[in-house]
Symmetry: C2
Subunit: 460 residues, 2 copies
């Protein structure tokens, strides 16, 4: 091994920590972002402790070499993609749930703990960790924190940042520090823990996470569904539910393309002429849940829904949500490349945005399906292109850029919950403008003066 | 006027904006923190617009002179205290509620808007701005954001940071920038809006604030009260309520000294032999509220409360909360100097902390009353000393320091919601340690290289 950094890492760490075989290294070089470029890594390191992480960071700092931290690699923006000559640091072997404290309602976990595993362990103690990205069976808390992951619950319960109390972080110089606190409140100094959340590994390597938990929800949520003939009617329903002060615990949208895909795959018998299906859940205690479900139903109907119903039993409620659950896998069944967009609009502009996406799809001749966390205005257009069709890929890329532009034109953001990574860098520059970008870069420069931590991500 | 900076400000701004008369300037030189030192300002400026703020910041930057931003001056840590030769920038004339948007559930306000005024305006639209510091009739949103203000609602609804979506900020170089977003979610770049919250005017001057709102609560909260003979029993009650998964919308503690003071002032007939009064409110929809109130009552009784009751009507509920509401004014009635401490403990350590405070009061011969946001572990020991008694003041200062040390020893933070300002600087240094302090200073240096923004606060 002629790379002195790799030789140093091999000498400093137990043998199984450092991977260099190109075949073994290959899956660690990128996340799940279709089309995001990635480079070649000098090595992949899988430390088992904070001290081992610090050894890796200090070695990279000494050699002025890039370090790319990585969770489970389920990201959709290229945030974990390798750059040439880097060391990829995978947290996959740091998967201990260190502590769950019922009295303080918090959990302490290593970054490699899988989201669903924490949720299950918390549930055993009567507690609940709400953030629920679609990747929750595989994605890890470290990655969730690094990207400030969202999910279905956000509309009522907030995103990952709302749950992070404290972090142990290895800084760019290899020091181990603790930021944040274990107490419910605290204002001692700048909120560095909050700053680390969503920074995609560019400001430090997260080695331990303390999250706030909620009491476990009891009871079964009630589900309301409504099919709408037009995007405008569905948008009106979203606005009406919000303006009436209702607070669904999930509020999702599935478009016609998804409905067709689910029917094609599962013969689900969903109405194929509807433009949009809206699904809402309420988790209030009864009888407030029934009242809220009835109120949501009334607003759906007032906005022009047909076939609007709300469930009275849990099995039915679950079945109603299947159209949402099955939409993504149904599209995957088609065997095409799937590029997941992620823009967030003011709720009231969602219908207008969907109309623009329809127009963009037609103009570029690209198939685009849409799912959305409707209550948050967080839209995921899914761009489908046949594998190997370079012309289709170019058209889809142009459509992707147009969607970003349209979101900005409607007062939205270029990324609601997936992160900047590589794919959203141009959009973020357009969104923030040069003055705010300069502030972002000043923060990066302050905390990583050598620029070794995940270079090229977030701030470019 | 021989000061060239003041002359420049007078030339650049309309006549009524700049105050220099020492008698007029005097009340602007400090906040309500007893004993925090303050210097003499060159001038007080009361801009009416963001552009005028930018004029002031640019002038200070050109002259390398300190700028101390200030809201209503209700702070309790000295965060708004003048330093010698500074310009005090008061936001008191920027008090426009720019927008309340029901569909997006947000409000846009200037920094000088009073907390209660926003709450009232939101209520007219069926919306609610939860953060409710005790200063809410006077304190302004700018100050609330600068200190990340808390209050009674935090225990269920979170602190100011949880409501800030976006900020317009004048940077240290006098540029006007917007950070954050208007959408419900967003992860485009580092969370600079979150970083500004709680930064006490040291990273930028906040000129406009976009906050998230909630639907207005309907119904009357139910109140549960319980008197406890020992601190341990009260601490046990707090832990039991938390561990049972109950979520009171307020959960307060009032100690014996406060009960005596309220009785002395209002002849309230509160039991004077009780060590602690706990008060909890629940705002769930009925009948869940009644069930939660009954469950809280049961936990109070299991922990050994006597005279535990819960209200069945709103007037009675309100009367029960009077002991909490009247505690601080009752102490003020004594006509002594009142120093308000603000430490936050893990909830489970609250009783132990109260015992330590009792011991500290005895050791230093200082009268200390205690109120607490018990459900958050956020304790406010109130140190009383006769005006002009220098020896008593020195003893109280020593007690203040011991309380901070005790909070740290129990795993707490030196400030739960009042901010670092000047009074908590030594405590914060002890809490964070040199490595994290260095990161804090790096952030300050990055965003205010000249160090003109509220120098000496937060990071010292």
């Amino acid at each position: 091994m002629s790379d002195p950094l790799v030789a140093e890492l091999m000498a400093a760490l137990p043998a199984d920590r450092v991977l260099v075989d190109p075949d073994v290294v290959a899956p660690y070089l990128h996340d799940e972002a279709e089309w995001a470029v990635h480079g070649r890594a000098a090595a992949v390191v899988r430390p088992r402790s904070t001290d081992e992480v610090a050894v890796v960071v200090r070695a990279c700092a000494r050699h002025s070499r890039p370090l790319v931290p990585r969770g489970a690699g389920t990201g959709l923006s290229g945030g974990a993609n390798a750059v040439d000559g880097c060391v990829v640091l995978s947290t996959e072997r740091m998967r201990e749930i260190v502590e769950i404290d019922e009295a303080e309602r918090l959990a302490v976990v290593q970054p490699g703990v899988v989201n669903d595993d924490l949720r299950a362990a918390a549930a055993e103690r009567g507690l609940w960790y709400p953030p629920d990205p679609a990747s929750s069976p595989w994605s890890t808390l470290g990655g969730n924190v690094a990207t400030n992951a969202g999910g279905l619950c956000c509309v009522k319960y907030g995103v990952t940042r709302d749950y992070v109390l404290a972090l142990e972080v290895v800084t760019a110089s290899g020091e181990v520090v603790r930021v944040g606190r274990r107490t419910a409140k605290g204002v001692a100094g700048y909120d560095l823990a909050g700053l680390m959340v969503g920074s995609e590994g560019t400001l430090g390597v997260i080695t331990e996470i303390t999250v706030r938990l909620r009491p476990l929800r009891t009871g079964t949520p009630r589900t309301v569904v409504g099919f709408f003939d037009t995007l405008t009617a569905a948008g009106d329903a979203v606005s009406r539910v919000t303006a009436r002060g209702l607070q669904p615990s999930a509020f999702e949208l599935v478009d016609r393309v998804c409905l067709h895909a689910v029917n094609a795959w599962k013969h689900a018998g969903l109405p194929e002429d509807a433009a949009v299906l809206l699904l809402a859940q309420t988790d209030l205690p009864e009888p407030a849940a029934e009242q809220e479900a009835a109120a949501i139903l009334a607003e759906f109907e007032a906005a022009g829904a047909r076939d609007a119903v709300f469930s009275t039993d849990p099995v039915e409620a679950d079945a109603l949500f299947d159209a949402r659950r099955l939409a993504y896998p149904a599209l995957e069944q088609r065997g095409e490349a799937l590029l997941t967009e992620d823009v967030c609009l003011p709720r009231g502009r969602l219908a207008e945005m969907l109309a623009r996406v329809e127009e963009i799809a037609a103009r570029h001749d690209v198939m685009i399906a849409n799912i959305a966390h409707a209550g948050d205005g967080n839209l995921h257009p899914l761009l489908l292109t046949p594998h190997g069709d370079e012309a289709a890929k170019r058209r889809a890329q142009a459509a992707f850029d147009d969607i970003v532009d349209a979101a900005l034109a409607l007062g939205g953001t270029v990324t609601g919950e997936h992160g900047v990574g590589l794919l959203k860098l141009p959009g973020m520059r357009a969104e923030l403008g040069p003055e705010v970008l300069a502030l972002q870069r000043a923060v990066k420069q302050a905390l990583d003066p050598q620029g070794i931590l995940n270079p090229g991500k977030v701030v470019g």
